[in-house]
C-alpha cells in the first residue's frame, strides 16, 4: 500500500509538474477550450464559426424574403431552420460548410426557376430600382462590385468675381456656373479687352478637334458640349437644389406613336424647332464660304443629317459604331444600315428615324427596337451628337474635316463647325488657347448663360505638374482650379473653395475566380480570351473566399484614406450621379434598394465600411474555411504560410501616393498576431504597367491580376443598363468587366430571386433592359444558325443551304431581309469583300427556318475558298422585333478542279 501510495504520489507530482509546465507556456497563456474537427484553436473556435455561418444563412433568407409569397417563404424558413440545426450539430468546419451548402440548396429548391420570355423594360422607376438593388447585392455578395474606396470628389476654388448658380453642388448638374452663374468683374490679367469677362479655365492639353462623333475620351466631348444643343437640356430648378428637363431643340416632350398599355412605345415623335421658330446656326468663322451659314435657318431635313453621318460605316466614326451597336437604346434598322453602308449598299429609309410635317407642326420621329418610356425616349435622343447640321455644310467642309482642322490647317474648328448651343467657337490657336463666344441665336440666350464667353488656356505643364492649375489660379489667371492633394490643408477651408461631388467611384477590382472559373473564362478555350497554359494566371485562392474579401474591405480606413486625397469615402459601387429617378433627380445611392445591397458592408463599421477588429474576425473565418478546403496549410511563426496579393495600378508614382497606405491597412490587419498567431503572413505587392491603360488592357479586362485599381463610367441616367459590366459574358458586358467571379449565367451560383422566381444574373439583367428568353433561370440565345449544305449546280453556280433553329418556335417570327456574302482572299493584301445577295426561304416549320442562297458561277469561280454568309433577318418574339445577323461559314469549291 505504501509502495502504491508512493507510486501515486510520483504520478501526481508528474501530473502537477506537467500541468505547471503547460501553464507556464508564455506564447499561449489562455488556451481556448478544445474544439473538434479542423478548426485551428489558435484563431477561431468552432462555435464562433458556426455563429457566423448561421448569420450568413439568415441573411440569405432575409435577402430573398421580400420577393417570395407567404407559402414559399414558409417553406424557405423551414429549410433555414433545418439548416441552422444541422450547422449547430456539426463537428467541424467542413461539416458546417456542408450543412450551409445543403441548406442553401434546399432553400433554392423551394423557389421555381424563371422560364419563358421576359421583358421588364417598361417597369416603373421604383420597380427597376428594386431590380437594380437585387443585381447590385448579387455583385456585392460575389465579389463582382470590387472593394470601393472613394468617390472622386474634389475641392475646387472659384475666383471671387464668379457668382455660381448655387453654392451647393447639385449631383448630376453641378454649380450651374455657366448656365445660371455670372461674372461680376474683369479679369485683370486678361490682355484682350473683349475677353475680360469670359470664364477663364485651363486645359492640360489641346485635343486638336471637337469631333465628338469620332472620339472616345471625355475632353473632346466636354468641348463639344459648349457649342452643341440637344432635343432637351437641364436647367437648375427654382429652389436651386435640383434640376428640370426642358426642351432645347424640341418644342415639347415626345409623343408615343404606338403606345402600349403601360405607356411605353417603340415609336416616339418629337415636335422640333426649325427656322420657322427662329432656330438658326451660328459661326464666328471669317471665311466667306462659312459666313454664308451664319444665321442660316435650321431645316427639318437637317435633323436627319447627323444620323446619316454617324451610321455610314465608311465614315468610320467611333460614335457611329456605338450607335449602330446599341442594345438598350437600339434604333430600328440602324445596325443593318451601318453594316450595309460599309459594304456599299445601304438604304437610309430602313433606319427608324424620319422627319415630317403634320398639321403645321414639324416632327422628328424615332423607332427604337425596344419599347421606351417617355423619359428614356427623350433621354436617348437628347445627345448633342444628334444636333442638326445642314448636309450642304458637311459637303462643303468634308466629313473628315468636320469639327476639326483640314489637312493643311488653313481651316480651323472655328471654320468647320456650326453651333446651335450656348456658345460658338471664336478662336482656336493650336496648343495655346481655345475661345468660345456666346451664341446670340441660342434658344435660351436671353434668359440663361449670362457669361459672355469661355477662354481656355492650354497649359501643358499641368499634365506633369499637379500644382500648375492652382498656381495659375492663385496668380489670378483663371477662374477655377482644383486643389491638389499637396495643398489640401492650406486651401480646403478657404472661402473660395467648394466641394465638387464625384462622377466615378474608384475601387479595388477583385479577381474572385477560383482556378476552374478562371480557366473557363481565360483558359485555352476561354470564353473571354484564350491563353496558352504557360500564360495562366495563378489565382490566389483566398480571393475567391467571400469572407476574405469582406475582411479586406473592412480593414481599409476609407475615411482617413479619402480625406488625405480630398475625396469622399464610399463603399458604393456607383457614384452619386447615377440616378434611379432621372426625371426627379433622385440618386440611386439614396434609395432603400441600394442601402439594402450594401448593408452588409456597413454593418458594425464607422459608417464607411471600416472596422479593424471585425476585419480580423473575418480573416479568421476565411482562414478556417480555406484550411478546411485544403487550399492552405498553416505554417509556423518562424516560417509562416505566405498569402501574396498583387495590386495593379495605373502609374508608378501610385506606389508611394496610394499603394503603400493600402498595403499597410491590409498587412496590419491580417498579420496581427491575433489573427493566425503568425502562422500566415499577408504580403501585398505593387504592379504598374508602362502605360496607364495597361492596368485595364493587360490586367483587369483579361483576368491577369489579383486586385487592380480603377474605375469605369457608364450612363448615369440609366444605372440599370450600366450593370452589364458585372456580367462574365463578354457579349453582355461588351468586354468591360473589371471584377471577375462566378459564371453569371448560372442560377445555382447564388440565390438571385425576383418576383418569386430564381434567376441567373445575366437573365435578370437582360430582362430588365430588354427582352430575353430564359430557360431554367438562365439566359439562352433566341436562335442557332448553321450552313448545312453547299452543292455545285450544273451551270457552275453554288447553292448553299442555311438553317436557323429558333429557341421558341411558337412565339417567334422570322423575316429574312438579305444576305451578305463575305470571302477572304489569300495573299499579302488579305482583304475581305462582300456582296449583297437574296435568299429564298424554302421551308419554315418546327421552329426551323431553311433558306437557300445561290451564288453565280462567276462569283464562285472568282472567289473560291473559305467564305461565309451574314444572314440579316427581323426576329419578332411576342410582338417585339429585333434585327439579327446570323453568320455561317462554308467553302466555295475551285471549279476548275
Amino acid at each position: 500500500m505504501k509502495k502504491l501510495c508512493k507510486k501515486f504520489s510520483v504520478l501526481l507530482m508528474v501530473l502537477v509538474a506537467g500541468i505547471a509546465l503547460v501553464g507556464c507556456k508564455t506564447d499561449n497563456p489562455n488556451p481556448k477550450p478544445p474544439v473538434g474537427g479542423d478548426v485551428n484553436p489558435d484563431y477561431l473556435s468552432l462555435d464562433d464559426y458556426k455563429s457566423y455561418m448561421v448569420y450568413d444563412l439568415e441573411n440569405v433568407v432575409k435577402n430573398i424574403s421580400g420577393q417570395l409569397d407567404a407559402s414559399v417563404l414558409k417553406l424557405v424558413n423551414a429549410k433555414k431552420e433545418a439548416g441552422v440545426a444541422a450547422m449547430n450539430a456539426a463537428k467541424s468546419v467542413k461539416e458546417v460548410q456542408a450543412a450551409f451548402k445543403t441548406a442553401k440548396s434546399e432553400i433554392a429548391n423551394q423557389i421555381p426557376l424563371a422560364n419563358g420570355v421576359y421583358s421588364f423594360i417598361s417597369l416603373s422607376n421604383e420597380e427597376k430600382t428594386e431590380i437594380l438593388g437585387l443585381l447590385e447585392a448579387y455583385g456585392v455578395r460575389n465579389g463582382l462590385t470590387g472593394i470601393s474606396l472613394y468617390e472622386d470628389a474634389a475641392y475646387q476654388m472659384f475666383h471671387p468675381r464668379v457668382t455660381l448658380g448655387t453654392e451647393n453642388y447639385i449631383i448630376g448638374y453641378g454649380f450651374g456656373t455657366l448656365a445660371e452663374g455670372a461674372i461680376t468683374a474683369d479679369l485683370a490679367t486678361e490682355k484682350n479687352e473683349a475677353w475680360k469677362r469670359y470664364y477663364h479655365i485651363i486645359e492640360a492639353s489641346d485635343p486638336g478637334t471637337i469631333y465628338y462623333h469620332n472620339d472616345q475620351g471625355s475632353q473632346v466631348g466636354d468641348l463639344y458640349t459648349f457649342m452643341s444643343a440637344g432635343y432637351f437640356t437641364t436647367f437648375m430648378n427654382e429652389t436651386k437644389d435640383g434640376y428640370d428637363w426642358v426642351p432645347e431643340l424640341a418644342k415639347e416632350k415626345p409623343q408615343a406613336v404606338n403606345p402600349q398599355t403601360d405607356g411605353s412605345a417603340t415609336k416616339w415623335r418629337f415636335p422640333v424647332k426649325t427656322g420657322k421658330d427662329g432656330l438658326k446656326y451660328n459661326t464666328n468663322s471669317t471665311l466667306a464660304s462659312r459666313q454664308a451659314f451664319d444665321g442660316k435657318e435650321v431645316e427639318l431635313e437637317d435633323y436627319l443629317t447627323p444620323f446619316k453621318l454617324l451610321l455610314n460605316q465608311k465614315n468610320g466614326l467611333y460614335r457611329g459604331a456605338e450607335l449602330a451597336n446599341q442594345t438598350t437604346a437600339a434604333i430600328k434598322g440602324a445596325q443593318a444600315y451601318y453594316n450595309a453602308s460599309g459594304k456599299g449598299e445601304a438604304d437610309f429609309s430602313s433606319v427608324g428615324v424620319k422627319v415630317y410635317e403634320e398639321n403645321g407642326l414639324e416632327y422628328f420621329e424615332v423607332e427604337f427596337v425596344n419599347p421606351m418610356t417617355q423619359f428614356y425616349a427623350m433621354y436617348y435622343i437628347t445627345s448633342g451628337l444628334y444636333m442638326p447640321v445642314p448636309q450642304s455644310f458637311l459637303d462643303l467642309v468634308g466629313v473628315k474635316n468636320f469639327l476639326g482642322f483640314n489637312e493643311n490647317k488653313t481651316e480651323t474648328p472655328v471654320d468647320n463647325s456650326l453651333s446651335l448651343g450656348a456658345y460658338t467657337l471664336e478662336r482656336w490657336d493650336s496648343g495655346q488657347q481655345i475661345v468660345y463666344k456666346k451664341n446670340p441665336y441660342y434658344v435660351y440666350a436671353s434668359t440663361k448663360y449670362a457669361i459672355e464667353g469661355i477662354h481656355m488656356n492650354i497649359l501643358t505643364a499641368a499634365s506633369s505638374d499637379k500644382e500648375a492649375g492652382i498656381k495659375e489660379f492663385l496668380a489670378g489667371n483663371t477662374d477655377a482650379a482644383g486643389i491638389p492633394q499637396t495643398r489640401l490643408d492650406e486651401y480646403k477651408n478657404d472661402p473660395r473653395t467648394r466641394v465638387v461631388r464625384g462622377e466615378a467611384n474608384f475601387k479595388l477590382n477583385v479577381n474572385a475566380t477560383d482556378e476552374a472559373t478562371w480557366e473557363y473564362l481565360f483558359g485555352e478555350n476561354g470564353t473571354i480570351v484564350q491563353n496558352p497554359k504557360d500564360n495562366y494566371w495563378k489565382v490566389e485562392p483566398a480571393l475567391s473566399n467571400a469572407h476574405f474579401v469582406k475582411a479586406l474591405s473592412l480593414s481599409i480606413n476609407r475615411k482617413e484614406y479619402s480625406d488625405a486625397r480630398g475625396s469622399i469615402a464610399s463603399v458604393d459601387f456607383l457614384a452619386p450621379n447615377y440616378m434611379s429617378d432621372p426625371i426627379n433627380g433622385i440618386t440611386y445611392n439614396d434609395t432603400q434598394a441600394h442601402k439594402n445591397a450594401v448593408a452588409g458592408l456597413l454593418a458594425d463599421t464607422d459608417g464607411y465600411g471600416y472596422n479593424l477588429e471585425l476585419a480580423r474576425e473575418y480573416f479568421k473565418i476565411a482562414l478556417a474555411e480555406l484550411e478546411a478546403s485544403g487550399k492552405y496549410k498553416p505554417g509556423t511563426k518562424a516560417n509562416p504560410t505566405v498569402i501574396e496579393l498583387e495590386i495593379a495600378w495605373m502609374y508608378p508614382w501610385q506606389e508611394t501616393s496610394d499603394h503603400n497606405e493600402l498595403k499597410q491597412y491590409f498587412e496590419d490587419a491580417f498579420n496581427d498576431d491575433s489573427v493566425s498567431g503568425g502562422k500566415y503572413k499577408l504580403e501585398v505587392k505593387f504592379w504598374t504597367g508602362a502605360d496607364w491603360a495597361e492596368v485595364y488592357d493587360n490586367k483587369l479586362l483579361v483576368g491577369q491580376y489579383d486586385i487592380g485599381f480603377g474605375s469605369i463610367s457608364g450612363d448615369p441616367l440609366n444605372p440599370l443598363a450600366f450593370l452589364n459590366i458585372l456580367s462574365s459574358d463578354a457579349g453582355i458586358s461588351h468586354n468591360f468587366t473589371l471584377n471577375w467571379g462566378p459564371n453569371t449565367n448560372d442560377p445555382d451560383v447564388d440565390l438571385l430571386v425576383y418576383n418569386g422566381y430564381r434567376w441567373s444574373y445575366d437573365a435578370l439583367y437582360l430582362a430588365a433592359n430588354g427582352q430575353t428568353i430564359v430557360e431554367n433561370g438562365a439566359n439562352v440565345p433566341a436562335y442557332q444558325a448553321e450552313m448545312t449544305d453547299q452543292k455545285v449546280n450544273a451551270d457552275g453556280s453554288v447553292t448553299s443551304t442555311v438553317e436557323i433553329q429558333l429557341t421558341l418556335p411558337e412565339e417567334s417570327e422570322v423575316e429574312v431581309q438579305n444576305v451578305v456574302m463575305c470571302w477572304y482572299q489569300e495573299g499579302d493584301e488579305g482583304y475581305k469583300e462582300a456582296v449583297v445577295l437574296e435568299a429564298t426561304v424554302v421551308s419554315s416549320a418546327d421552329g426551323k427556318v431553311v433558306l437557300t442562297i445561290t451564288t453565280s458561277a462567276d462569283l464562285t469561280a472568282e472567289f473560291y475558298g473559305e467564305m461565309g454568309f451574314d444572314v440579316i433577318f427581323a426576329l419578332t418574339i411576342n410582338g417585339v422585333t429585333t434585327t439579327e445577323m446570323a453568320s455561317v461559314y462554308g467553302m466555295f469549291p475551285m471549279l476548275s478542279e
Binding site: K191, N192, D206, T209, A324, G404, F405, D465, Y696, L701
Partner: protein, 345 residues
C-alpha cells in the same frame, strides 16, 4: 572645296536617312497601339488602322502573321481578327509616300487629320526663334565674361566668375525655368506664367521671350565663358603674345589684335555646336512654358504615340544637327586660314 562640301552634305543626308529608317523600324517594332472601349469602338479603331495601312483584318485566324491585335466576338461565333501589317511592309509604304509625294502622313491625335509636315512647319518657327535669340544673347555675354575672367586671371573676379560658371553650368534649363517662373512669374508677376497667346499685345509677347531665352542661354553663357577663358589664358601665355608685347604693343592691343583672334578659332565653331545642344535642351522647357515649338511637339508625339509627327520631328532634328555639323566643319576653314577643307596635298 565644293566637292568636299557636296560630299559632306550627301553623307549627312545618308546618315539622316539611316537614322530615320532605324527610328521608324524600331518604333514600329514596339508593341502596337491598342485601344479600350466597347467592341464597336474597338472595331472602329482597328478598321481605321486597316485604312491607314497599319493592320490587316481577316475573318479567320492567320497564325503566320503572328499574334492578332484584336479579335471581335461576333454573333454566332463569327470573329474578325486584326493583325499588324509586317513592319518592313509599313516601312516600304512610308518611304514610297515620302519620296513620291513628300507625304509624311497625317496626325492621329495631336491634330487629327492634319498633315504631319504642316504641323511641323507651323511650330518650327517658335523653336528656331527662341534658339536663335538664345544664341544671340548668350554668345556676347559668355565671351565677354570669359575675357573678363581671363584678364583677371587668379583674382577674386576670376574666382567668382569661374565658381558661378561651374555651379550654373550644371543646372539644366528646364530646372532653371521652374525656379524662375515661380519667382518672376507667379510671385512677382513680372513675366507671363506661360507662353503668350497670339492674341496678346506685342509688349506682352516680348515679355514672354524673357524666361525661355534666358534659361536656354544660361548654360551656353557659362559654356562660352569657360571656353573663352581657357582659350584666352592659353593664348596669353604663348610666346608670340610675349613677342607682341615686347615689340611695343599695349596689353589691350596685344589682346585685341592677336590673343582674341586666335582664341576665337575654336570658339566660333562651338557656337554652332551649342545651337544644336540648345535645340535638344528646349524640348522639356517648351513643354513647361507652353511654347508651341517642335521640342514640345516631339515629347507630345511620343506621349500620344503620334508616330507620323514623331518621324517628321526626328527628321528635322536630325537634319539640323547633321547639317550644322557640316557647317561647323566648313567654318573652320573660314575662321582659320591654315585649315583647307578637302584640299589636295
Amino acid at each position: 572645296m565644293v566637292k568636299y562640301v557636296l560630299k559632306r552634305i550627301g553623307l549627312a543626308l545618308a546618315t539622316a536617312f539611316i537614322i530615320l529608317s532605324l527610328t521608324f523600324i524600331m518604333i514600329k517594332l514596339l508593341p502596337p497601339e491598342r485601344t479600350t472601349g466597347q467592341e464597336s469602338q474597338q472595331i472602329a479603331f482597328y478598321e481605321e488602322q486597316v485604312r491607314l495601312g497599319y493592320a490587316y483584318s481577316f475573318n479567320m485566324e492567320k497564325p503566320e502573321l503572328g499574334e492578332y491585335l484584336y479579335k471581335t466576338n461576333g454573333s454566332s461565333g463569327k470573329s474578325t481578327y486584326y493583325y499588324q501589317v509586317p513592319v518592313m511592309k509599313q516601312y516600304g509604304s512610308w518611304l514610297k509616300n515620302i519620296f513620291t509625294k513628300f507625304d509624311w502622313g497625317v496626325s492621329r491625335k495631336i491634330n487629327p487629320n492634319v498633315k504631319a509636315s504642316v504641323i511641323i512647319g507651323e511650330r518650327l518657327g517658335y523653336s528656331i526663334r527662341i534658339n536663335i535669340l538664345s544664341v544671340l544673347f548668350s554668345v556676347p555675354i559668355g565671351i565677354l565674361l570669359g575675357i573678363w575672367a581671363a584678364l583677371k586671371k587668379n583674382t577674386m573676379t576670376d574666382h567668382v566668375i569661374s565658381t558661378l560658371v561651374m555651379v550654373f553650368i550644371s543646372i539644366p534649363s528646364f530646372v532653371l525655368i521652374i525656379f524662375l517662373l515661380l519667382i518672376f512669374g507667379y510671385k512677382l508677376g513680372w513675366v507671363p506664367t506661360k507662353w503668350p497667346n497670339p492674341t496678346d499685345p506685342l509688349s506682352y509677347k516680348i515679355l514672354g521671350y524673357i524666361l525661355p531665352v534666358f534659361c536656354l542661354s544660361f548654360g551656353s553663357i557659362c559654356g562660352y565663358c569657360r571656353f573663352t577663358r581657357a582659350e584666352l589664358c592659353e593664348v596669353m601665355e604663348s610666346d608670340y603674345l610675349l613677342l607682341a608685347r615686347t615689340k611695343g604693343l599695349t596689353k589691350k592691343q596685344a589682346i585685341l589684335r592677336h590673343a582674341l583672334r586666335n582664341a576665337m578659332v575654336p570658339i566660333v565653331p562651338s557656337i554652332l555646336a551649342e545651337f544644336i545642344g540648345i535645340l535638344g535642351g528646349s524640348m522639356i522647357l517648351e513643354g513647361l512654358y507652353g511654347i508651341p515649338g517642335i521640342g514640345k511637339l516631339f515629347i507630345e508625339s511620343l506621349e500620344y504615340k503620334d508616330y507620323n509627327i514623331l518621324f517628321v520631328d526626328m527628321a528635322i532634328f536630325t537634319t539640323i544637327s547633321l547639317l550644322a555639323g557640316v557647317v561647323l566643319d566648313i567654318s573652320y576653314g573660314f575662321i582659320d586660314p591654315r585649315i583647307r577643307m578637302g584640299a589636295k596635298k
